[in-house]
Structures are given as C-alpha cells and as structure tokens.
C-alpha cells in the first residue's frame, strides 16, 4: 500500500523543479510542463515524487498526466511533426497528406523514425482552417500543404 519514491536522479531533478514551482496556485500543470521541458517527457518515476510533494495521490497525478496528450511518457524524436486531422483539414484532403507523410517517413502516427529524427502525431485543429490542410513542425505552423511542401518538410526534418 505504500511505495518509496524513486531515489534516482530523476527524483532529485524532479524535486528541484517542484521546489521552484510549488508556491504557484494550481502548481501541478506548470510542474509537469517544466518536467517535460527538462526530460523531454514526463518520466513515470517523477510521478510519485510530485504526488508526495503536493500531498495528492499517485493516482491523481497519473490521471492528469494521461489526460493531456502533450505530456509524453517517452522522449520524442528531435523534431515533432503534427498533422491536422480535424474536420476542415479532412475536407481538404488531410487523409492523403497524412498517408504521404507516413509513407515518406516510414512510420505511423505516434511513432518515431528509427534514426530518432522525427516523431509523427495527429492533431485535432491548429486553428488554421482557412489554410487547410495544415501541419506543425516543432511549434511552427505550415498551411496549404501539397506534395511539394510535404517533401520539403520531410527533408528538413530528416536533415
């Protein structure tokens, strides 16, 4: 019924982040953001440390982390490519766009290329409907995708 918090390096780096942000009102999300920033993902071992520090249960932290798709359980590739699959983009051929990306990269959604360069993910609306179909590479949005642009993006990401 009890679990010792992981006494690893992850735990100590997590503890430092918690210490810094604990005073905020509603500190859990900022802490998780900072942890993802630090580690590139939210390590499972950091959850009991957060729970203990905020005096909430491990289950609660787990519930929050899994609710948000943007918190990763594993590190992503060097680049993250998100392809919009929401309604407006679908009507402008985003299925084909996604297929093209998958084919060029040789991976499916939620996967990372073997060389660790790109992680491919679906996203549901980037707010760029007027320029559909659209995608986002490392936080930068790209509209009006066509084969040429797709190839350009892939080339850039793999470089």
């Amino acid at each position: 019924m009890t679990m010792q918090p992981a006494s690893t390096e992850i735990a100590s780096r997590t503890a430092a982040i918690i210490q810094e942000l604990k005073g905020l009102e509603g500190p859990l999300l900022p802490i998780l953001h900072e942890i993802q920033e630090e580690f590139g993902h939210v390590p499972q071992d950091s959850l009991p440390v957060i729970a203990e520090a905020l005096n909430i249960s491990r289950a609660e932290v787990h519930g929050v982390v899994t609710f948000y798709h943007d918190y990763r359980s594993h590190p992503a590739g060097r680049h993250v490519l998100k392809v919009c699959q929401a309604e407006a983009c679908q009507s402008m051929g985003s299925d084909a766009v996604a297929a093209k990306f998958k084919q060029l990269l040789g991976i499916g959604f939620h996967e990372t290329t073997r060389d660790g360069s790109v992680t491919l993910e679906p996203v549901y609306c980037l707010g760029l409907c007027a320029c559909a179909p659209s995608a986002m590479l490392d936080g930068e949005v790209i509209g009006r995708l066509d084969d040429e642009k797709i190839e350009e993006i892939v080339a850039e990401a793999r470089s």
Binding site: M1, T2, M3, Q44, L47, P48, A51, N55, I56, S57, R58, A59, E60, V61, H62, G63, T66, F67, H69
Partner: protein, 958 residues
C-alpha cells in the same frame, strides 16, 4: 425476510433548514433548500433514471440519463446537478426525454458485453435495470468497431481491451464491463478519502485506473469496499458474489471488529453468508466500511475453528473431545472442588470485549452469584481502564462524551496516541472528510502516522513526542493556555469548581511545565507546543480523540485526566463538535465495562461496596454478594504463581498473547488446576487450558454491542451456531451445572434484567432497539431517546473537577544496554491478536509483524530493510524482520502484535498504570541487533504450542 433494499436518493441530503416546494410530474413535494431535483423526486416516490449518481457521493452529471424538463427553462438539465427552486415544475418523462435516454443507453450498450445471464451482477446491475427502465429494444450502432469488450476484433488483438484485475483477495476489477461513470473514483475520494483511483486518459480512452495504471493490490487502495459498493455494474464485484451468486435475504447486524461499531447488512443465501454490506442507516458508520468488517469474516468458517468441547487432565496431554454435558459437568465439579480445597476466592473469570453485553453480563453474574466472589476482570484492563478512571474522576462518567456525527461540526481536532486510519478506519474516513472541508488537526504521536499527512490532509501541528512523555506534553499545552489567558473563564465558572481550577492553573503555570522545559525532555519543538495550544484554544469547536497511546502507560490515568482538564479549560465539553472521545479498541469494550466486568464494579459502574446497589442484585439473585473488590487479571496471575488462585474461566480473550510479560502469564496459567477457555479457536491461552468450550461468532447469535460512542447496537443471528450453542447458552449451561437456577430463553430476557437493575439502561429493550435502530446510553426516563452528547447542561458528577497532573517519568528508562524505546500498535488489515484476521485473506497485506526502525538507528547497527533482528528488553527477547522507515523518530522503534510468532509481549514489561494496572505496552527500553532467526524461546514456545494443540483421534468404533 427478503433482501433489504435501501432507497438510493441519487445525491446526498441537504442540511438546510429552509424548505422549498416544487412540483414533480404533477405531485407537490417539499424538501430542504439545496436538494437536487433527482433527490426531491425520489422523496416524492418518482425514480429518475440514472447511472452516475448515487447518494454516497456528490452529483457529477456525466451519464446524461437523468435529464428532465423544467417549465420555463430551456433544454434538458441533469436532475442530479440542478437544485430545486420554489414553484419549479419538473417533468421527468416526456417524449423528448425518452428519446434522449434511449439514445444514450444505446451508446452505453454498444460498448458493453451482452453476457447478462452469466454475469455476476445479474439481478443487481443498475445498467441492466436502467436499460429496462428506458425501454431499450435495439442498439442501432451494433457491436462492431472500436470497443473495450472483446479481447480480439476479427482475430486481431484489441489493445483497448484490458484483462480482469484479480489481485485484491476480495473483489475483482473487470474493465470490459466498465461504463466509466466515475462512481468508484468518487467513492474512494469522497467517502474513503484515500484517492487511490482515477480516470486515466480521455474520451473513448478513459479508463478507471488504480494508482498509476497499477493493479489494485499495488495501488494506494486500502480495500475498504466503497468502490465496490458504488459500482453500478459487475466491473467491481465481490469475489464471494462471483463464487456464490446473488443473496436472497439480508439481516442488519453490527460488526465485531473495532469500537466504531459499524452496522452491516449480512446478505445471505440460505444460511450461507454472501457478503457484508455497510448499512446506510447505521448511525456510527453512515454506510461506510473498512477491509475488516466488509470482507474479513472468513474466520467464522475457517478449518481451525473448534466445534466440539474438549477436556484433558494435564496440559501436556492431547485434547479429548467430549459432549457438552461432560465438559460442563467436569468444569463445574472442578471449580467446586477447587473452591472447597483452596477457598471461595481461588477461582475467577474474565469477560470478553468481543462478546455481547448479554454474554458479558452473564459471565460476571456467574462469578458473583455462582463463584460468590468478585474475581472478574476484562480485557479493558489492558486497554481503556484508565479512561474509565480518568473520565469518571473528572466528568463523572466512564465513557466518551460525543457521538461520531459530532466530528462533522468540529473545527480543531486533537488526536493523541491514536492511529485512526489503521485502528478505526471508518471514523478516520469521516474525520478526513471533515479535515478536507477545512477543520484543523493537531497530532501527538511518536510516529508520523497516515493521519499526520496523506493525500489532501495535513496536520497543522505534529508533536512527535518521546514515548512516555504524554503527561508532560499535555500539561504543557495547558500551561500555554493558562499563562497566555486562552482559557474559557465563563465556562469554567459556570460548570467547574473555580477554586479547583485556580489550584490547577497555578500548578500548570509552573515553569517546569512550560513548553521550553517539556520540549527538551519530550524531544518536541516548544514553538510547536505553543502553536498547538493556541490553535486548540482559539480555533473554534475543539475535540480530542485519543487511543491506547494515552492509556497504556504507567501514567495512563493521569494523561486521561490531563486531557479532561484541557477540554474543560477551553470550554470544549457539552455540545456537538467538541468533547473527549476515547477511540475504543474492541467492538464491545465499552459494553463489557458497562456490564460490571471490573472486580470493583457492578453493572453501570457502581462500586461493590455500595449497600444499595448490592441490595438490588442480592434481592434478584438471592445470594449475599461480596462487598470487597476482587482480583484484577495481573493479581489473579500473581496469586496463581503464589498458589492461592487455581481456576479461571476465560471467555473470548487470549491473555497469553495480549497481556504483557508473556512469561509471567504463562507461569500463572501453568500454576492453575482448571483453566477453561471459551473461544472460537485453540488460541495461545488454550495451550495452558484444561477445558475448551467452543464459542460462536457474532453471526451466530443475538445480542447487543456498545460502541465507543455508547451506542447500543443490535447483533442479530444470521446462521445457526456451528458449535451448537451461542456463547450465552454455554455460560448459562455452566451456571446450571454449578447449581444455579438460570432460565433465559433469549438474550432479550438478559437485557431486560440489565435494564431492570441498571439506571443508565432503564429504557433499553429489544423492542425499543427495534423501533429506534440504536440508542446511546444513558437511556432512561430522563433521556428516553438516549444521549448522543453528554454533559450538556452540566457535568454528570455535578461540577467538573480539575485535578493536578504531575509528570512522573516511567521507571522504564533507556540506558546504555537498552538505548531505544519500543512502542506498539496495530495495522489496518489485522485486528488485535489476529485470531480472526490471520485466518482471512487479510494476511496478504500483513503476513508478519515487522520492527519499524529509523534509517539512522538501522545504519548504526548495520541493519538493512528485511533483515532478521533481535529485539531485547529487560524482560526478554524475540526476533522479527526490520522495516526501515522515517515514520518513527530516531531512538524509537515500533512493532505490531498481530502474530503470535513474534511474541511482542515477551518484550513488554510488567510496569502498569498507577490507578488501574493498565500495562505499559507503549514504552519499553530495548536494544536491537542483527540476528539469524527465531530465538530459543520462540522455538520452545512453538513446540509447546504444537504439542498442546494435539487432539486425540477417536478410536474407530466400527
């Protein structure tokens, strides 16, 4: 009989006093303001379809089945989350609502198995019921496509499907049947307060997750059963229901574990117990339960249970099974022979806090009327006897002042030497609920127990005092209150003796009682003591809850008095939300004390020297009663060693394991000529017994238990005694064998005799309990409905009495040979000496006693977690495995006493409370060192126990 179906109102009751009238489907209904429409319509007898709502948790509004239409309002609001308003006109069934509900239900069923006929919840499934209610006839979406139901879709692995989690010994989690209503998650949070469950993921990926996607057994789950009860489907099901099937009738009864006294429905199929379900009308537990009461009843049918009487000449002989008649005649003859040979006072008996009031009453009656002496004592001797003394002296009654509901109105809770999350879990859940609503918490305990800090609760002040310094620290709290002028002068002047107060105040104000001085000797930060005192005095309604960490000391009675002083000085007695509340260990320890189990008191705490009282019983029983107090348990054992005490009748208590200084107890028992053990199992004491009388469980008899809040609860027979006789019948037959003319046909007649002779029980009868559910004593003409809160208009003894509490350090001290202090306690899953819980699947949580030791002390001794360690005191030594934790302070070690192999009481000393002889279990100076395994004593003991438990096999008759 039938199954008791409790009405589920869907949302909790509102406590508002303002009433609101509305119309539901044409019927007018008046309810308190703040009530949900769902609850209001249920009050009017109209059940609105629902899945995610149940009245044990707050409204959530996620299932979309309980929608209603309200005149003058747009849309279809959910009735669980919408409060009533005056003049509201609600429609629960319209064409539009019916369509919506059927559509919603189609979605649910499209992702749910259709195996109703073979499902464990068949007949007790809300999803099934609601499908019927909304008139579901087909599911247009079909069952193909994405789902959580099938392991494989068209031969392809379905990653959304999750296997059953059967890791908990008592219930299963089958995710394929889950409708994600969150009722389990909310029950775990709101009712139990453990927060072990969550919903992971989102949308169609939402799943119930114990801990961090763990098995139930690996999560924070404490197996209280609240989630199982909340679950509307078969997702969370008792394994016993899966195995046996649905129950067909139920009987309301009272749990036989701790002093909270939870009411349960024993749900039966024939005479087979299917499950225990907490009863919502139970006024102690309000529908909640813990792992022991809810699930750990398997001991009642355990193979170790002895069902036939047995006798033997010598304790080295094997047992011989005999008839009831032979066993009882033999016992009666032996007792008479011993009395003839060694004198009237050479025999005695011990009543049980596990048995009913009626049974306890009979045992003390047998001793007083039949043995013609006062040699009766009870296990309260070793737990709460100082409570009886201390509260009797200061307030005038030997019991807690409040009901459990009182905690809901408390602002500051002070917990002293109690570990409610383990020892009194259902009360702890109610307390935690109040703490989450903002009440403040002060904890005095050498260990950092879970109540000090766990999810969503944290004590404002934790004083991790050195074991044995309770009196000093509590007096020091009073010092701050007096010297800083924080006492309630008006209360004291009105209710207490002002001169006594002034005398006491001048004593506590002495510099040696200041936090600065006391802090040093108790290893507590003086500022924490000051902070705690200020908070308690000025924080609003202050309530003190305490346990055996207060009483089981050489100054146990003094601490109880100090606690009473503190409550009086701050004006915290006599209304809801305040008071002094001993958390009683055993189910009926209050009752056994009430029933005259002490050698100096007749029922109702009336001293045996009182002529008027003796007169009542002498007239009724037709004998002359002894006016001198008899022997206490330790005196009986001393006298046995000295050769003047030779016979003992022990009902339902295992003194060899539970009483201090095991070797001395063993020597005392070995010196007796006739030890009669009346118990379910061949317990440790039975190793030294000459007669064994098989006992019956709480499921097998009628009677009453009195819990820690003085509540007299009915115990009802749900099955015939497997041993043939209920315990009260055994005692009665023994009395008859000794020539007494007893003729009780039913326990209710015994209660009638108790009521007739004991003023505080005057109005109690089985008929009355049937009508009232339960009552809290005193229940008489002055308080016909019982007394939830005591001392309302003044103390029972007249003026509340302040008594000086001089701190005298115990003689048990640390030194170079024994540098550590051992303190003892219990754990959630096990109960007391473990006779019952060790014979259930609860052992999965606590298979052995461990020695908790601080990392610092462990390192000094080169000990690692899990190592065998030797624990030595001035009394003896034992071995057990170490558990390294910073829950204990450096210099303090801790263990539980649930397993006889550990023999923790070989270590404890025979120091005891100055007033009541309550043993000092909580302080023993010890040394800890590495060890290879069990000690010689443990090996010898086990060998002796094994020898002693042999039962002679009968010669084949054919």
């Amino acid at each position: 009989m039938g199954l008791i179906q409790e009405i589920d109102f869907g949302t909790p009751a509102s406590t508002s006093e303002k009433q609101v009238t509305l119309t539901v489907d044409g019927f007018t209904v008046t309810v308190p303001e703040g009530t949900s429409i769902m609850r209001a319509s249920m009050e009017a007898g109209i059940a609105i379809p629902k899945l995610c709502a149940t009245d044990m948790v707050d409204a959530f509004g996620s299932c979309r089945l309980c929608l209603v239409e309200i005149d003058g309002r747009n849309g279809t609001p959910s009735s669980c989350t919408t409060p009533v308003a005056p003049g509201m006109v609600v429609h629960t069934q319209t064409g539009r609502l019916k369509d919506i509900r059927r559509g919603v239900m189609e979605l649910y069923i499209s992702d749910h198995p259709l195996d109703c006929l073979t499902c464990a919840a068949n007949g007790d499934c809300e999803l099934q019921t609601q499908a019927g209610v909304v008139g579901l006839r087909d599911v247009r979406y079909g069952y193909e496509g994405d789902n959580h139901v099938f392991k494989k879709n068209d031969g392809v692995e379905n990653f959304k499907w999750m296997a059953k989690d059967e890791s908990n010994p008592y219930f299963t989690y089958d995710p394929s049947k889950c409708i994600v209503c969150s009722r389990c998650v909310r029950a775990c949070e709101e009712v139990q307060g453990t927060f072990a469950l969550t919903i992971e993921g989102r949308g169609f990926g939402s799943r119930v997750s114990p801990g961090m996607h763990q098995l139930f057994i690996d999560s924070e789950c404490v197996s209280c059963g609240a989630c199982v009860q909340a679950c509307p489907t078969a997702t969370l099901s008792e394994k016993s229901v899966i195995q046996i099937g649905q129950p067909e009738h139920s009987v309301v009864t009272t749990c036989a574990y701790c002093g909270v006294g939870c009411s349960f429905k024993a749900e039966m199929r024939g005479d087979e117990l299917v499950r225990m379900v907490p009863y919502k009308d139970g006024k102690a537990n309000r529908g909640h339960s813990c792992v022991k009461g809810r699930f750990a009843y398997g001991y009642s049918t355990h193979k170790d249970r002895i069902l036939n009487p047995m006798i033997r000449e010598k304790i080295t002989d094997p047992w011989r099974e005999v008839s009831w008649e032979e066993a009882l005649t033999h016992t009666a003859n032996e007792f008479r022979r011993i009395q003839y040979q060694y004198g009237r006072t050479s025999i005695g008996g011990i009543t049980s806090s596990r048995c009913t009031n009626e049974e306890t009453y009979l045992v003390q009656k047998l001793i007083r009327q039949g043995f013609r002496n006062n040699n009766v004592d009870t296990c309260a001797r070793v737990c709460h006897s100082p409570t009886g003394y201390g509260l009797g002296q200061t307030f005038g009654t030997s019991a807690g002042t409040q009901d459990f509901d009182s905690v809901e109105q408390t602002d500051v809770v002070m917990i002293i030497g109690a570990n409610p999350t383990d020892g009194h879990p259902v009360f702890a859940s109610r307390l935690k609920k109040r703490l989450r609503k903002g009440a403040k918490l002060i904890v005095l305990d050498p260990r950092r127990t879970d109540i000090v800090r766990s999810a969503h609760i944290e004590a404002q002040h934790h004083l991790p005092l050195k074991p044995g310094t309770n009196v000093a620290v509590v007096t020091s709290l009073a010092h701050v209150i007096v010297t800083e002028g924080l006492f309630d002068e008006a209360f004291i002047r009105e209710r207490c003796d002002w001169d006594e107060f002034q005398d006491w105040a001048s004593f506590v104000a002495l510099p040696e009682n200041s936090p600065e001085v006391v802090g040093q000797l108790a290893n507590v930060d003086p500022e924490e003591i000051r902070g705690a005192a200020r908070l308690f005095a000025r924080g609003g309604n202050g309530a003190i809850y305490y346990g055996l960490g207060v009483t089981e000391h050489s100054q146990g009675s003094t601490t109880v008095i100090a606690i009473a002083n503190l409550a009086m000085a701050t004006g915290n007695v006599g209304r809801p939300g305040v008071g002094v509340n001993p958390l009683r260990g055993q189910n009926n320890v209050q009752g056994s004390c009430d029933m005259g189990s002490f050698p100096h008191e007749l029922p109702g705490y009336r001293h045996v020297s009182g002529d008027a009282v003796r007169d009542i019983y002498e007239t009724l029983w037709g004998v002359k009663l002894d006016d001198e107090p008899g022997l206490r348990i330790p005196n009986m054992l001393d006298a046995a060693v000295d050769g003047s005490f030779k016979g003992l009748y022990v009902q339902g208590e295992d003194i060899l394991q539970s009483d201090p200084d095991t070797k001395h107890v063993a020597a005392g028992l070995a010196a007796m000529e006739c030890v009669v053990v009346h118990d379910l199992f061949l317990n440790e004491t039975a190793n030294y017994a000459h007669v064994f009388l098989p006992g019956s469980t709480f499921l097998e008899k009628d009677g009453t238990f009195t819990n820690a809040e003085r509540r007299i609860n009915r115990v009802r027979k749900v099955m015939a005694p497997k041993n043939g006789l209920a315990d009260w019948e055994v005692t009665q037959n023994l009395a008859k064998a000794m020539g007494l003319n007893w003729n009780y046909q039913h326990p209710s007649e015994i209660m009638d005799e108790i009521a007739q002779t004991t003023p505080s029980f005057a109005k109690v009868s089985y008929d009355y309990l049937e009508k009232m559910g339960s009552v809290q004593w005193p229940c008489n003409d002055k308080a016909p409905e019982g007394t939830p809160i005591m001392h309302i208009d003044g103390f029972v003894r007249g003026k509340g009495k302040f008594i000086r509490t001089e701190y005298v350090a115990t003689d048990e001290r640390t030194g170079p040979r024994f540098p550590l202090l051992l303190t003892t306690g219990r754990i959630l899953s096990q109960y007391n000496v473990g006779a019952q819980t060790r014979r259930t699947d609860n052992v999965i949580w606590h298979p052995e006693d461990r020695l908790e030791i601080h990392p610092h002390d462990a390192e000094n001794r080169g000990l690692r977690d899990g190592d065998w360690v030797r624990l030595t005191s001035r009394s003896g030594e034992t071995t057990l495995r170490a558990l390294i934790t910073d829950k204990v302070s450096p210099g303090v070690v801790y263990t539980t006493f649930h397993h006889p192999d550990t023999q923790a009481n070989v270590i404890t000393t025979d120091f005891s409370d100055w007033a009541t002889n309550c043993p000092e279990y909580k302080v023993t100076a010890v040394q800890v060192g590495a060890s290879n395994g069990p000690t010689e004593w443990q090996r010898d003991y086990n060998e002796q126990a094994e020898q002693s438990r042999r039962i002679a096999t009968l010669q084949a008759a054919e």
